[in-house]
Symmetry: C2
Subunit: 418 residues, 2 copies
């Protein structure tokens, strides 16, 4: 049998460990020289496939792969691009032209819910066209919202970073607590689900009255009165109050909590939920108010990776190569929890078509009855995912994230006009 | 000679290594049992002295002290409180009552510019009253703006955290760069000086076109046209642009760059420089825009300390105890740079009266001629201060920052009515 070439692509927002998955894919594929020929990576995800802009990962030696496996961001570039629903589209034609031109027999697509939809569609398109392609989805998202897997690579490291940040900022604000009262609000990612917000509850470490005192998640309608009453109660008692807010919290009418206003020139200004909530507290009670928005920092914190998360990111990469070789078309390696204490897990295949475009919210028993915090069950679920550290070699006091040599594969087709 | 008691107090905003200074003070004082009796710490800084709310640090065993030396925040509590200028004030009377009641012969005051003024004034007040007190200032500030010392404990760790954060967020945004253009703005602390903003320039590690592409500091008037032109040039060329903004940048008329506006209910909304600059870019060019505000996270990041910074924080603590015992009243241990490559430093005494209330800005040759970045000279100065890592023991994947047992000293005076 002639070896097939394998194509790996990032899809959607990147994480602190998506490169670890990529490195594991490349390593696992190299371990099968009789069955896998070249390992290509798409530059900028599916847009790179359309542009026939492929990288030959053969240029990455063992040292570079080890470094890739601890470098945050997406080394090959990513994009947000939805495949057209109509499979007769020129886009799909072009993808298969590129696959054929480079003898690609396996596509490993590393993304979230939307990417699993793309995997299912490309799998169907290949069958319809009679093109020999095995499509495998590889899970990734800091949002932890993919259905069919116990957790998602990328989440554990972001969760560890945010829980650490809340614990540390909490010590800072506690130091300055006084009679006037101060509040600290940290806005975390999560437009529709509260997984990352929930992770900050681990900061308390089981200590009563330790930060965060309030955790607001999108699964619960924002109740301004109940929220303000709790802020006041905590601040009057402790001198300060630390709050985690998911960016996507909403009012009963479905509108986002954000500081929407017109500036002096008439432009509409949009502030995030964090600043809106901090200002709301300040306006009501006059407390000193601070807010933090880690933004990209929370999904790129390679200096403080969860070793568990990174191990899982690599395991799904290796499993995806196995599935490709076993012809398990349209499947995604999922993480299965075997035990929580001590934590045990393995990787099992699930069909991408069955989970595509779904979104896993926090289960009801992970949210406190009053809607202002998360439960011990949520903490028990998340805790093992943030455990373990990864030592990052440094140069000049900073993590060594030197750029990689990523030579392009010679083009064989006409330029894409899409 | 009867041993004196020593009183240590945090003052002003805390840092990731102010507890390291505190731990070094306690250790150094314990090593002089014949000359120093008790080591007290004020709860909540000078407010705790006024309230006669003192902590007996004797409760901290060697293990607790080692843990204190790697715990961010101010374990004893701090405050912002200016001593009244008139030394005849009731406040000063009360302070000396408390000193006398607890046989305090040395005050170690750990703060910034304003605190050095307090040291000079308390020193003068003690002499005027004939009270035998040695006052020693101990430097601390993430702002790095104390005059008379080459650098300030607290700065190096915040600088390391911010440079790491810019390098990591830069990898994330570079992964997603595309034809539409995206910008990332990180707002860092620095109301009047650009030391922390300058530190993020280390993220580039000497690579051309690496983030941050623009660094805005308060020492330079914000030139909107020049700034936007640079943003456009970088984004059109690279697909993205990463910007560091110090919170205190100002226009030519002296006003802060912030999103000041009225919301729908008529309340004035204040956004920081980071969101204002990000929105300005978005409005002008339509680029996708993100902004991060690390806020307290940048001065509390104990999980990613600079070992150099921590060593200096401990060295000034030990030196302060030496000065107290040598009767070097009104002095502050300063860090002196002996060589940059390899970095060598020592600690020397400077008079707090001569440096009080001054503020050290970035020197002119640390800022690029166009005002949109900092120079290689700035990077050369900052680089050694962020070097070295401190391994943080973790529990459950998070740094072990358990609370400390901090028993109060029995009160001997009437309650303070101030």
């Amino acid at each position: 049998m002639t070896p097939i070439n394998l194509l790996y692509a990032h899809s959607g927002g990147v994480t602190a460990v998506i490169n670890a998955t990529a490195a594991a894919v490349i390593e696992a594929a190299r371990a099968q020289p009789g069955r896998i020929g070249k390992v290509f990576a798409a530059r900028r995800g599916i847009l790179g496939v359309l542009a026939e802009d492929l990288i030959d990962t053969g240029a990455l030696d063992a040292g570079a792969l080890a470094r890739l496996a601890r470098t945050p961001g997406g080394a090959f570039g990513s994009c947000r691009f939805d495949l057209p629903a109509d499979e007769g589209e020129a886009v799909t034609d072009r993808l298969f032209e590129v696959f054929a031109a480079h003898r690609i027999g396996a596509l490993l697509y590393n993304g979230g819910n939307g990417s699993m939809d793309a995997v299912a569609r490309l799998s169907a398109a290949a069958q319809a066209r009679g093109y020999p392609l095995v499509c495998v989805g590889v899970p990734k998202t800091v949002d932890n919202d993919i259905v069919g897997t116990d957790c998602c690579p990328g989440f554990g490291s972001a969760a560890k970073y945010l829980a650490t940040s809340m614990r540390e900022a909490g010590l800072d604000i506690a130091s300055m607590a006084g009679r006037k009262g101060s509040v600290f609000v940290m806005e975390v990612m999560g437009r529709n689900t509260g997984w990352l917000a929930a992770a900050t509850a681990l900061a308390a470490g089981g200590e009563a009255d330790a930060p965060p005192h309030i955790v607001l998640v999108p699964e619960v309608v924002f109740d301004e009165d109940a929220f303000l009453a709790r802020v006041r109660e905590v601040t009057e008692r402790l001198g300060y109050c630390a709050v985690t807010v998911a960016e996507g919290i909403r009012k009963a009418d479905g509108s986002l909590i954000m500081a929407k206003s017109r500036d002096e020139r008439g432009y509409v200004q949009l502030g995030g939920a964090g600043s809106a909530v901090a200002r709301l507290i300040h306006e009501r009670f006059g407390y000193k108010h601070h807010w933090a928005i880690p933004d990209y920092l929370q999904r790129a914190a390679g200096h403080w990776l969860s070793a568990t998360d990174r191990a899982q990111a690599m395991a799904v990469g290796r499993a995806a190569v196995e599935y490709a070789l076993a012809g398990q078309d349209g499947m995604m390696p999922a993480i299965r929890r075997l035990a929580t204490t001590p934590y045990q897990w393995d990787v099992v295949p699930v069909a991408s078509g069955g989970i595509a475009n779904l979104e896993r919210a926090l289960p009801a028993d992970f949210v406190a009855v009053d809607g202002l915090h998360v439960t011990a069950a949520a903490c028990d679920y998340i805790r093992p995912l943030i455990e373990g550290e990864v030592v990052q070699p440094t140069v000049g006091g900073l993590p060594d994230y030197r750029p990689f040599a990523l030579p392009g594969v010679p083009r064989q087709l006409r330029p894409w006009q899409g």
